[in-house]
């Protein structure tokens, strides 16, 4: 596993600076700062409603945000400055930027009208402009990597929850994104299916993928992450290597939070 502590302090792949986000009058993110370096695995933990999902959705431009900036590989995403005003990018530019990050959702969101392979191929064909045969080959390679080579032509409805989520992971990874966002990807699964999905993510982390994930599985966060981030009330309250954060928590809310979760 690449060690974040010893690598050179190069420019982070993802830099979130002072991110502010409101829904109507209620401010949900109140100035979040967060870095993710190339090859790093960062886990976000925190109580329900602390803004974890919202943060990931801002990074993938599924939400607009009102303040601060998100830099992916140095490029500000979602907005451009013009005459001192912040303007939301056009649909085409947003799409281009979204293609650089992959996202795996809690509820899989597989396209029901496409097969497993079709789900993986859609972005390859329509966004990357790959030919059918090439896209099919890439899709099969990725489905094999998540252990679903035999299920390529199955419809989503013919797959178990765990299998569906692994297809969703293949769909995100096949686009070769710089960064993959994973939001509680095992929360909608039956307990006996959680293991297979987490093992898949762990393997990807071991191969050097850059991951920013939200999880309620503390053991998993401890095993897989270089850095764990604790969010509380729309702010990053504490961050550090998993050993420190779980072994020696300092923020009182984190101590309370960890006491409330059984399996760390």
């Amino acid at each position: 596993m690449p060690s974040a502590e010893t690598s050179a302090p190069a420019r982070p792949l993802l830099a979130i600076r002072g991110l502010r986000k409101s829904f109507g009058a209620t401010e949900i993110l109140k100035g979040v700062d967060l870095d993710v370096r190339q090859g790093e695995v960062v886990s976000i933990i925190g109580s329900s409603g602390s803004g974890k999902t919202t943060l990931l959705r801002c990074v993938n431009l599924l939400e607009e945000f009102q303040g601060g900036e998100v830099l992916l590989d140095g490029e500000p995403v979602g907005y451009r400055e013009q005459a001192g005003r912040r303007l939301r990018l056009k649909d085409r530019d947003l799409a281009r930027q979204r293609a650089q990050t992959g996202m795996v959702f809690q509820s899989f969101n597989l396209f029901p009208h496409l097969s497993a392979a079709g789900n993986v191929m859609l972005g390859l064909r329509k966004v990357k402009g790959m030919g059918k045969a090439e896209a099919r080959a890439v899709a099969e390679r990725w489905l094999a990597r998540v252990g679903l080579a035999e299920r390529a032509d199955h419809a989503p409805s013919q797959l178990s929850g765990g299998q569906q989520q692994r297809v969703a992971i293949a769909r995100a990874l096949a686009m070769e994104p710089k960064l993959v966002l994973l939001d509680e990807i095992t929360s909608a699964l039956d307990p006996e299916l959680v293991g297979e999905v987490l093992a898949t993510v762990k393997a990807l982390a071991g191969e050097g993928a850059t991951l920013l994930l939200v999880t309620h599985e503390m053991r998993f966060a401890r095993d897989v992450s270089n850095t764990v981030v604790f969010m509380e009330k729309g702010l990053v309250a504490e961050r550090g290597p998993p050993g420190d954060l779980f072994g020696n928590p300092r923020h009182p809310r984190l101590i309370e939070f960890l006491r409330g979760t059984r399996d760390h």
Partner: protein
């Protein structure tokens, strides 16, 4: 009965010509109306407010006005506005506008019932708005739309009879002409009714076959 068969056989060219006209009118109205309906439906769901308002007004006016009024208006109105339409074109125009409004509403409903996660997952892959629409939303919407769309096709075939009122030589008008010659009123109305039944049953059966083929596996 023998009389009917003899008379119908003598008039077979007229009847077939009318049937062909009915099928062309219906097919044109359905194809053009469906294209229009997709635009209207998308405008109703995703349009900026001026466009949405225009689409809403269009759909409400078309659906609140009887089809016969639309047909008569399309027949009489263009001429005084300096546009000369043949009765056939005027009738097809009226049916298309009506069909487009109905299909627009159907599409609006179908798009609205697709979970938001589908759009988000498609955006996350990097598709633009039109990519999301073309490759993810519409294919799903069209599948759930197939049964009501087939229904609309049947309604359009039925509505095509209204063009007889403006003198388009479709099946009903041709039949009325035949009755005018041989006075076999009941027989020929039953015959024409049966012909419409056959056409519409055929559409329904084709629709069911299509449904089985495109159902989610």
């Amino acid at each position: 009965m023998d009389d009917l068969i003899t008379e119908a056989w003598d008039a077979r060219d007229v009847i077939l010509g009318g049937l062909l006209q009915t099928l062309s009118i219906s097919a044109l109205a359905i194809v053009l109306g469906t294209l229009l309906g997709v635009l209207v439906g998308v405008a109703l769901v995703y349009g900026a407010w001026p466009l949405r308002l225009a689409a809403r007004a269009y759909a409400d006016v078309m659906r609140g006005t009887p089809v016969l009024v639309l047909v008569l208006a399309a027949f009489y109105m263009p001429a005084v506005l300096g546009l000369h339409l043949q009765p056939f074109a005027a009738g097809v125009l009226a049916l298309t506008l009506f069909c487009g409004a109905h299909i627009g509403e159907l599409i609006r409903g179908a798009l609205g019932s697709i979970p938001r996660g589908q759009t988000e997952a498609a955006k996350a892959v990097g598709l633009t708005f039109f990519g999301v629409l073309a490759h993810v939303l519409l294919p799903q919407a069209l599948r759930s739309l197939l049964p009501p769309w087939i229904n609309t096709c049947v309604e359009m075939v039925k509505a095509s009879t209204l063009l007889s009122v403006i003198g388009v030589g479709e099946l009903l008008l041709r039949t009325q002409e035949i009755i005018g010659r041989n006075f076999m009123t009941l027989q020929f109305y039953l015959l024409v009714g049966a012909l419409y039944l056959v056409v519409n049953f055929a559409i329904e059966q084709a629709g069911k076959a299509l449904e089985r083929r495109v159902a989610f596996r």
